[in-house]
């Protein structure tokens, strides 16, 4: 089992998830197995209906599988209670959503602090310190007290990424994180993800956009609830270069 000293962050085996739609049983995931090690930047792709959202919900401990095993950082998730899963999400997972989901009329720093508010072991001083550090990591150290509605989409998504990083998660789960952004801003966010990856973060990026596979270190493609390909990309393209080549939009 011991391949080098890499930590296995995610290990799923024979994962199944069935839904009942009316009287019909829908198999959203059929026997999915894979392992994700520390430091990987994995894109999970698939058309709508391929089961990628279901997989994301399962990986994010928002849902439990019908059958199969899911070990997150060595801990089995499928046997956890609702509250245990909430605590796991709080301590080990960082979510980035397509529509940012920032609290309205709230400053960046308060938005970023939010996950730590649900962790009573973190004092208010530490909370602030972590939040500032996370905002610095996404390049927003000059926007600490800007309210969410005073910022552009790209900045809002950066705040959301800072919020995902503030609890120092074992994995960052991004769900179409560039879906609402224009091309240039999308690439700036991709640059940020690549930078985080370079600093050792484990990232899962769920998207339907096949172009993005070129920028990750591994690509998993789902179709009809099954993995149809799982390829390692040893030489990911630099998003920064593309970003620099894009014209600055000024009209």
């Amino acid at each position: 089992m011991e391949q080098k000293t890499l930590r296995q962050i995610i290990k799923v085996e024979h994962l199944r998830r069935d839904f009942m739609v009316g009287s019909e049983k829908v198999h959203a995931l059929r026997d999915v197995s894979f392992t994700i090690n520390q430091g990987e930047f994995v894109t999970i792709m698939g058309t709508s209906g391929s089961g990628k959202s279901t997989l994301l919900n399962l990986l994010g401990c928002l849902d439990t599988p019908t059958s199969g095993q899911y070990l997150l950082d060595g801990v089995p998730v499928q046997s956890m209670s609702k509250n245990e899963r909430a605590i796991t999400r709080n301590r080990k997972i960082g979510f980035v959503f397509q529509n940012y989901n920032l609290l309205p009329k709230t400053t960046s720093i308060e938005n970023v602090e939010l996950p730590l508010l649900y962790n009573s072991t973190v004092s208010s001083i530490e909370r602030r310190k972590h939040a500032i550090k996370a905002l610095e990591a996404v390049g927003l150290s000059d926007r600490l007290y800007h309210k969410s509605n005073q910022m552009s989409g790209g900045q809002q998504q950066r705040v959301a990424i800072a919020r995902a990083l503030v609890n120092d998660p074992v994995i960052v789960l991004a769900d179409e994180a560039t879906g609402n952004l224009d091309t240039r801003t999308s690439f700036s966010i991709l640059v940020l993800f690549q930078q985080l990856h370079a600093r050792g973060r484990t990232i899962i990026f769920v998207t339907h956009n096949p172009e993005l596979a070129a920028y990750s270190s591994r690509n998993i493609v789902l179709r009809d609830g099954k993995i149809v390909s799982d390829t390692v990309n040893n030489s990911p393209q630099s998003a920064l270069e593309i970003y620099k080549s894009l014209p600055v939009d000024n009209d």
Binding site: A86, I87, K105, T106, Y118, R163, N167
Partner: protein, 406 residues
Amino acid sequence: MNFGNLLKIALKALNNNKLRCFLTMLGIIIGVASVITMLAIGQGSKNSIKAQISEMGSNMIMIHPGNMQRGGVRQSADDMQTLQVEDYQTILEQAKYISAVSPSVNSAGQFINGNNNYPSTIYGITPDYLDIRKVKIQDGIMFSEQDIKSAAKVCLLGKTVIDNLFPNGEDPVGRVVRFNKIPFTVIGTLEPKGTNSMGMDQDDVVLAPYTTIMKRVLAIDYIQSLFASAKDESLTDQAIDEVTGILRANHKLKDNADDDFTIRSQQELSQMMNSTSDMMTMLLACIAGISLLVGGIGIMNIMYVSVTERTREIGLRMSIGARGVDILSQFLIEAIIISVTGGIIGVIIGTIASWLVNAIAHWPVAIQIYSVILSFAVCTVTGIFFGWYPAQKAANLDPIEAIRYE
């Protein structure tokens, strides 16, 4: 999740919706303020009735002849001649729970002074009567025991009678007025008492020795009624029992015979009036309570809308690690903050409103501590009760659906 953090989250959420928060509070504010004001008005009127009654002598006992049957026919109390001077003397000598007693005989008629005349009632009494009825002498003196023995033709006038007989403001003391055809020397005047709680003019009165009225005016040998004072308000019942015993013995009534007299106490009157004002207070409190309930439903309504409106926010909170209980607590705390803050403001406004009612409408008010505590408690309970359902709804949302809610 500690409480401080929850409080911070709830306050922040309320702060983001100040207007809605205030409008929700308004229901509670109006509810609490009206409960406090209504109860203050109710209690105020009760207190003023009580004060008026105690002004008339709260430990007063009235004994009238009556309850007598002759051959199965009940007789009018006016025809009764069962109370005798002897009864008065026995009560005076024997009753331990009675501090003062006075017979009373009265006659209505025309008072004449020169070319002024006025119809009033002359009461034949003893000096004890002043104590019993809490009447004070303003000018002059009370008549003496000697005057009673000699059935002296002296009298004391109430203010209304003075105003009518001496319209030019002369001093009535020492003057002679005629009652029907009998001349009475005015030896004193009575302090004005105003109208009583039933609207009767307590100053439309003339006092004279009872012997004078019995012998010279009415020519009767019985007394019409007795007024007495129990030593203390709380001893009224014992005093009544004692007087009953004395009178039954005096009248030689058999054990199975009905009393040939009736005893009434001021206590009964005060109980009757209290029950009236209690009913009014209850009615006011009910109306106010209903408005508090409506306020509570307002909270539920707004919280419910708020949960739907903030579904995405709830989904986000859950996805970053809020447990169901955290969400439940947040919404519950929001509801409680709204209701308790509304309660505090309501108490302040209620107090001011009560004070205004007193200052402007001159209604007596008495703010009840219990009403403040009660409405405050009701507020908090309302907050929890009406906040619970929406909070429960929020806590039971599925994070997967909530986060993608549009």
